[in-house]
Amino acid sequence: MVGKILRPRLWVLRRWVRESSPAVRAGMLVLLAALVAGGGWLYSKVVSALAIDQVAAVAAGMVPIWLFFLVIAALLGIGDILQRLFLSSDLELLMTAPVPLRTIYLVKLFECTRVLWLPASLVLVFLIALGHGQRAPAAFFPLAVLLVLASTLSVASVMAALVMLLVRIIPPQRLRVWIPAALGVVSVALALGQQSLLQQSVVWENWAVIAQAVLDTGRLAVATVVSCAAALVLALGGYLIFRRAFYYGWSSFAQAAVPRPSAATRRRKGAVRAGVGQVLSPQWRSLLLKEWHSLRRDPRQLINLVITPLIVIGFSVTMLKPEGPLGILMFWNVLFFAVLMGSSAVFHLGVAATVGEGRNVDLLRRLPVRMRTILAAKFWVSWMPAWLAWLPVLAVASLLTELTVLQVSILAGALALALAEVGSVGPAIGALAGDFAVEEETRRMPIPIQLLGILLPGVSVLLTGLSCALVVFTFFPSSELAATTEQALDVLPPVAWVAGGGVLPWLGLILGHAIFLLIVARLWNAGALRMERWEPA
């Protein structure tokens, strides 16, 4: 039965492969081969040249990185897991068919593992390369595959159980608002726990023993059996929670009315609306309100909004702890991480806001409002809440790590700039790539758009990093941040010019931002035009 429920996905994939152009198919194959075979070959070459204790050293370096990616992937996937467990629209169909609850659970659990496929693939490629490089017996390879599958299932079961427990605990009227906050707190706890695990794993002395044990097929078999048993127990535990939580959570999300605010809140909101009404035209006010309500009543988007800053700061707290030059240099590391993650999140928020219109595009086209105004409303209601969500998190982080006022201000400014730049691209890309004929909310983004979602934040990191550095060197040259950074840049000649002062870096920076904004303007024009002229195929 599980196979029957999942097979439409295969049909869709088969059709996509059949209908996509040979160039796209070839490109995907090359990319996949480069990732799997190339990565495997590289690992294999490294590992085969090493003695077993050196292999252990490599593993000691790799494991924290995997742990990092596994935890990040799982945390960032919490919104996705919530969506798949309680909010996906195919549940109605599955629930009216004579499908046992355990089958629905298995299907949903399988779907929940999707957020872990990438880190799991990385681990698998490494293990296979390790076996190949160290000439492990043939039994090693299927056992390694089973081990990774069992671990993936265990992590997905735990994350799903966590989401279901929270849904069961929180009152239905408050679910949409509290669940993002509750999951945010859990994410920070997990991120901090992972940090501590990561630090211990780097200095752990038993890696050699484990590396040898992994290559000892007998011990690997025992480890695999234990992992599979653990995965089954966790999945079963998840099912028991699912049985108790599913109906409750599903009907709560589907039916819970928006709680009526108190009279005082209504008066306050009325006053705010009246004030806003004097500043904004009725059209702008309506569009912004519509976008805001859509955002705040979508638990998945809210979770993404809240979790990103919490995860970044959760991971960064330990980085920012050291005093002296190292702590100051880590500040740049945190800035890099925050801008990268934050702008990626706001990009996807903007894309989702536009693509999520679906067939409502017809309604928007009938309105006496320019499509650019509609896109602009989506931009404001993606970047502003995303940036505001960072501010309290930055304030708490500054208390925990003793960041200076200058550092916090630079972080806040950098985020405002990067989120605005990358956030402005999201609605336009959504308008250009959205399939508005599709009503269901789980719309897939074309791969080129997903790549843009990686590329643009990367460009933004460069531009924002450069902007912040120039601001520090130009306006706060005597600060500790400027002095320490300048010393650090002295040993990096390719970027030492940033600290050199002068007009040229500023000109380069302004030119960079101008080009970026020019590209954005063109994307907006093209996106607005497509939405204005859009017709279903």
């Binding site: 869709v12 009216t96 068919a97 009907s251 269901e440």
Partner: protein
């Protein structure tokens, strides 16, 4: 075939359906009417197992919806007001998928799908993606999916919405034919003309309470209406036609 006993559903302080006691016999076409928000869809969703009742229970095709949900689902075909359809599947793929969920083999599903799609003039569109279907075509596909496993009970929420007149006439014939074969149909609709012509009995729900139930003649008695009174007249009287006059007055003021 369908029996509700004190069926109640509350959402917080709102009583969507309150203490509903209703019986629909085998082979009967039962029309379920009521103003918007009266609780019709909530009732149907409880009968099909999509919502858990807050109190009371229901027996569908001899099975308790709470104790034997799978048996109920096997016996029931359900069409939602806005049916969920996989947008990226073709019509025939979707029906094969739904057939699989009800334990049909692909060959059985394909054979029945062919027949049903032909019945609703969809055979030419069966290999097109659902995302390109019109509202009426989606409804027809949803109805085909609900009929695919040859259910004993059909629960239909606004089944003819978006149908063209020819298809609507065909669908009414199909529903009557199914009833003559012993299938029980419970149909929520706002189209009173359809309910009046097609249904054996009609139940009127208002604010979660069943305020009248019976054949057209029985409803006339309950509504103290004249012998030739239409369903619309009785419906307005039972659910408060004062509001209609008020609305007309408001429109008059707006003019």
């Amino acid at each position: 075939m369908i029996q509700t006993i004190g069926l109640t559903k509350r959402f917080g302080s709102l009583v969507a359906v309150g203490d509903l006691n209703l019986t629909v016999g085998s082979g009967e076409l039962f029309g379920f009417l009521g103003p918007n928000g009266a609780g019709k869809t909530t009732t149907v969703r409880m009968l099909v197992g999509l919502l858990q009742p807050t109190a009371g229970t229901a027996i569908v095709a001899g099975h308790d919806v709470l104790q034997e949900p799978l048996e109920v689902k096997r016996a029931v075909g359900y069409l939602a007001e806005v049916p969920y359809l996989y947008e990226k599947l073709t019509g025939s793929e979707f029906l094969r998928f739904v057939g699989g969920l009800y334990g049909l083999t692909d060959a059985e599903s394909d054979e029945r799908a062919e027949r049903l799609l032909g019945l609703f003039d969809l055979e030419e569109k069966k290999d097109q993606l659902v995302q390109g279907y019109s509202r009426g075509m989606r409804q027809k596909l949803g109805l085909s999916a609900a009929l695919l496993h040859e259910p004993q009970v059909l629960l239909l929420d606004e089944p003819l919405a978006g149908f063209d007149p020819r298809s609507a006439a065909r669908a009414k014939e199909v529903l009557r034919e199914l009833c003559s074969r012993g299938v029980t149909i419970m149909m929520c609709t706002h189209v009173l003309e359809i309910a009046e012509r097609v249904c054996d009995r009609i139940g009127i729900l208002d604010q979660g309470r069943l305020i009248a139930v019976g054949s057209m003649d029985e409803l006339r008695q309950q509504a103290h209406s004249a012998a030739g009174a239409t369903l619309e007249e009785m419906f307005l009287r039972l659910t408060g036609d004062g509001e209609t006059a008020e609305a007309a007055a408001m429109l008059g003021r707006a003019d």
